[in-house]
């Protein structure tokens, strides 16, 4: 999903930075607030951040004959919301910009908006919609994580389409072209990512159910049912 350095006009780089910065500032405030209220949230933040590090480093082949990588942001979005997730993504994307030449500093704002804001926000909305329903807890995690992944790549497609509208058909045509490159490639990876992160969440619930309850990520009854205690 990385837009490469130099591949986005300066005005669009500025637009995406202007959108990303308030979100990042809000994320830092929320992060300080959560950690001040409960230091036990720190290991959970470490786990969710660690999986963003791991999954976003895995380049996997896909059905379209190209490679792509999962994002891993859905779990963080579920546990801490999209604002804090954007801060974690800033760290990951900065590492990749500085040491891997994947992305870049001028396009960092655009990459944060896709991977750190819109994707996690979409996943968070799915999680919020399903959280208090009878839908299985692990299916909720799976679905939210898969949606977060897919929306990241759809946003990248939109960012590029806005910057490079096609001569015939404009932004819509261009979006279609980038959508095939990014989003279609991503479908199988998003499904795998959703399943893997649901499994990670199962281990979190088995080992540290109290943190899930204390941060009110899922209702107590749902956590007990997931642990087979209900």
């Amino acid at each position: 999903m990385h837009i490469m350095e130099g591949f986005l006009p300066l005005e669009w780089c500025l637009v995406w930075w202007i959108i990303a910065l308030p979100f990042l500032a809000w994320g830092v405030v929320r992060l300080n607030r959560i950690l001040a209220a409960d230091r036990e949230a720190l290991p959970l933040l470490g786990i969710t951040g660690a999986f963003i590090f791991i999954l976003s480093s895995l380049k996997l082949p896909s059905v379209t004959g190209s490679c792509s990588h999962p994002t891993g942001t859905g779990l963080s979005a579920i546990c801490f919301g999209p604002a804090i997730t954007s801060v974690v993504c800033l760290v990951v994307l900065l590492f990749q910009s500085l040491f891997l030449a994947h992305g870049g500093l001028s396009v960092l704002g655009a990459n944060i908006v896709s991977m750190g804001i819109v994707g996690p926000l979409a996943g968070y909305l799915v999680y919020r919609a399903l959280r208090d329903t009878r839908v299985n807890l692990y299916f909720t995690v799976f679905f939210a994580c898969a949606v977060a992944d897919l929306f990241t790549y759809m946003t990248t497609s939109l960012e590029l389409a806005l910057a490079y509208p096609a001569e015939v058909g404009g932004v819509a045509t261009s979006f279609g072209v980038f959508f095939v490159i990014f989003a279609i490639t991503q479908v199988p990876l998003a499904i795998i990512e959703g399943i893997v992160l649901a499994l990670v969440f199962k281990y979190i619930i088995q080992l540290k159910p109290e943190i899930i309850s204390r941060l009110r990520i899922f209702p107590d009854e749902a956590v007990r049912a997931a642990r087979g205690e209900a």
Binding site: I47, I52, I54, Y164, I181, Q186, Y203, L207
Partner: protein, 101 residues
């Protein structure tokens, strides 16, 4: 079933591998380039510009070889793995200590 999610994950991973193998057979010429590179090539095609004309707005260090790039990606994954392993290990230890009996 206690390990339903684990089994489902294994099935999904094997399904994914099967899909990849099917693609390599169905499309023997596929290069499996990164979608980032394919997207960048598409920008060049849309604008009618040469790839080399897209120069970084901010100077950027690039890994000197593909091997070093792969090593740095592995380092990134290893950092995440270390943190996740440490925390899960600590939680498992706490959980075992707190188990009655």
């Amino acid at each position: 079933m206690r390990y339903r999610l684990e089994i489902l994950t294994l099935v999904a991973v094997f399904g994914f591998i099967a899909l990849f193998l099917f693609t390599t057979v169905a499309a023997p010429g596929a290069e499996f380039a990164g979608s980032d590179s394919v997207g960048s090539s598409q920008i060049a095609a849309l604008t009618g510009r040469d790839m080399a004309s897209f120069t970084p707005l901010v100077p950027q260090w690039e890994p000197p070889s593909a091997e070093i790039e792969a090593a740095l990606f592995a380092l990134q994954a290893a950092c995440g793995g270390l943190v996740a392993g440490y925390i899960f290990g600590r939680w498992k230890g706490e959980s075992d200590r707190n188990r009655p009996g």
